[in-house]
Amino acid sequence: MKLLYYVFKNIKNRRTRSILCFLGIALSIVTFSVITISVNQYNNVLSNGFKPFKDYTQIIEKGSNYLQFVPVSSSFENINSEIENDFNISGIPILYVSNEQNELLMSFITLMGISQNLMSYFDILKEIGLYNGEWPQDSNEIVVGKHLNISTGEIIEIREQVFNVSGILNDAGNFFDRIVLIDLQILQTLFNREGKVSLILYKTNEIINITDFENSIELSYNHLDCVTLQEIEIIEQEITGFSSTLAFLFSSLSLITAESFFMTIIILNVNDRTKEFSILRAIGMSNLNVFKLIISETLILSFIGLIIGIPISYISLSLIIIFAGISTGFTVPSFEIIPNIFNEVSKQLTPDFILMIIIIILLLAFLNTIIPTYLTLKKSVVDNLKIL
């Protein structure tokens, strides 16, 4: 008989304890990775939401909520021509209308109004590019996000007006994946918002003095807010910083909870076997060998936990991505492209991240073993042998 065989026999024969132990470890891996990765993913989505507008200074209505990424609730008179004259720059007025009334019988779609002539020149859209089809040639043609699963040539009716889908946008990884691009004037008319826009974008590098521009806008139009690149970055940092802190707290909490569970099982296991270890010590096993025995058992249980935990994390994350995609409309891998979900998870559950989990779990296993083993070995063999 080898000592390692003894370890395996213990794992096999103390089945309930072993199952509880590696399930506890697996659970801690799942909660830790799901929380950490979900929040990272959420932060990526947030960053993607801000990303398209990073070259622009925006004018929005005061009080617009930036948490929604696009100010669909904002609606003010288009003052573009006045600003163009005053500052000798050209702006891009945009109107966002939410699909709350299910104009397209689909949820989570934003209708974006932008002058049809500008669509192919607007560099944000140009950068995303068309997956297929072409940019609208007249105001009755529209372009849609790729994840709406609409094909070019399809006819779509919005408020009893018929539109022809001329092009599909490429994957953008943000709200453009679920957007319908309509000519600005048509959208304003359809939704009774003639002359209204949600924001006006100005190329930051075309503004000679950004401070003057900001002050002038906010003084002249007291119902408007000029959001500069710096302000957008601050808003983004505030949101991502908050969610990262929250993620850190939750993942730490999950690790601490799982760790307490794990440690309790180890302590109970070692305490329960105090007499057994004392018999071995009486027969002549060294304290070091007793420690090796306990640590080998804990490490094997941790390893089994890792083998179970990592695939469960993989599956859990896939499910989260599917449901988050469905409910938020930001990352929307469809059910028919399941391999894409796994690709998506693989991007998040990287070898580095897995290695980090393995190191954390094995380190915890080691630390968890040291204390109860030390306490057990500290006790006298004679006293321990008296335990019934």
Partner: protein, 230 residues
């Protein structure tokens, strides 16, 4: 260092006391002097609380003593480190406990193999030696049984086989028949005698059971920490 050729144990002026909760000192062993020759069977009798087990634990290097000296197999073991004591226990001493103290998750054969595994003996030799000892104790057909699957008498036989599997020169037995009925007691003691005759092992047996008197080459009495021959 004095060394008598046939002497295995020499205890000189051994004292051992415990501190009680009220900080009073309770002297359990009072100046014990004991010499045991090789191949002897010594039975130490005494009532509960007389210090028998404490004495056996001192001889087995499981417990420390306050003063005196202890020579085991010609070597002074009074001031050994824990690691050195562990090595002596592994190579020189076999233990038989009242409650058998078998490992519940190991089979009969695996329990017997433990001392050999700790001595890093080859697996082939482990099997051979354990088979041999289990045959002597009459359990050759129960090798793969677990302790809970065999009778109490058989469990004590396994414990005896384990104590003797690596042929230690000294075996210490603490109330070896304490858990057994009369018939099993007789069987176990006969077995100890048989093994003693085969291996020439020295046995130091402590018990309060007067029936064991007849099995000892010498019978000693321990009363209130003092040893005597009457």
């Amino acid at each position: 260092m004095e060394k008598k050729k046939d002497q295995i144990i020499k205890l000189t002026d051994i004292r051992k006391s415990y501190m009680l909760n009220n900080k009073e000192k309770l002297e359990v062993i009072k100046r014990i002097n004991l010499e045991v020759s090789k191949k002897e069977i010594i039975v130490i009798m005494g009532p509960s609380g007389s210090g028998k087990s404490t004495l056996l634990n001192i001889v087995g290097l499981l417990d420390n003593f306050d003063s005196g000296s202890y020579i085991l197999g010609g070597v002074n073991v009074s001031n050994l480190t824990n690691k050195e004591k562990q090595k002596v226990r592994l190579n020189k001493i076999g233990f038989i406990f009242q409650t058998f103290n078998l490992i519940p998750t190991l089979t009969v054969q695996e329990n017997v193999e433990i001392p050999l595994a700790l001595q890093k003996v080859s697996q082939l030799k482990q099997k051979k030696s354990s088979n041999q000892k289990l045959k002597i104790v009459g359990l050759e057909d129960k090798l793969d049984k677990y302790p809970h699957q065999i009778s109490i008498g058989e469990q004590q036989r396994v414990a005896i086989a384990r104590a003797l599997v690596n042929d230690p020169p000294l075996v210490l037995a603490d109330e070896p028949t304490g858990e057994l009925d009369y018939e099993n007691m007789e069987n176990i003691m006969e077995l100890i005698l048989t093994l003693h005759n085969i291996q020439n092992t020295t046995f130091l047996i402590v018990s309060h059971d007067l029936n064991l008197k007849e099995y000892g080459d010498r019978v000693l009495y321990l009363k209130k920490g003092v040893i005597s021959e009457t």
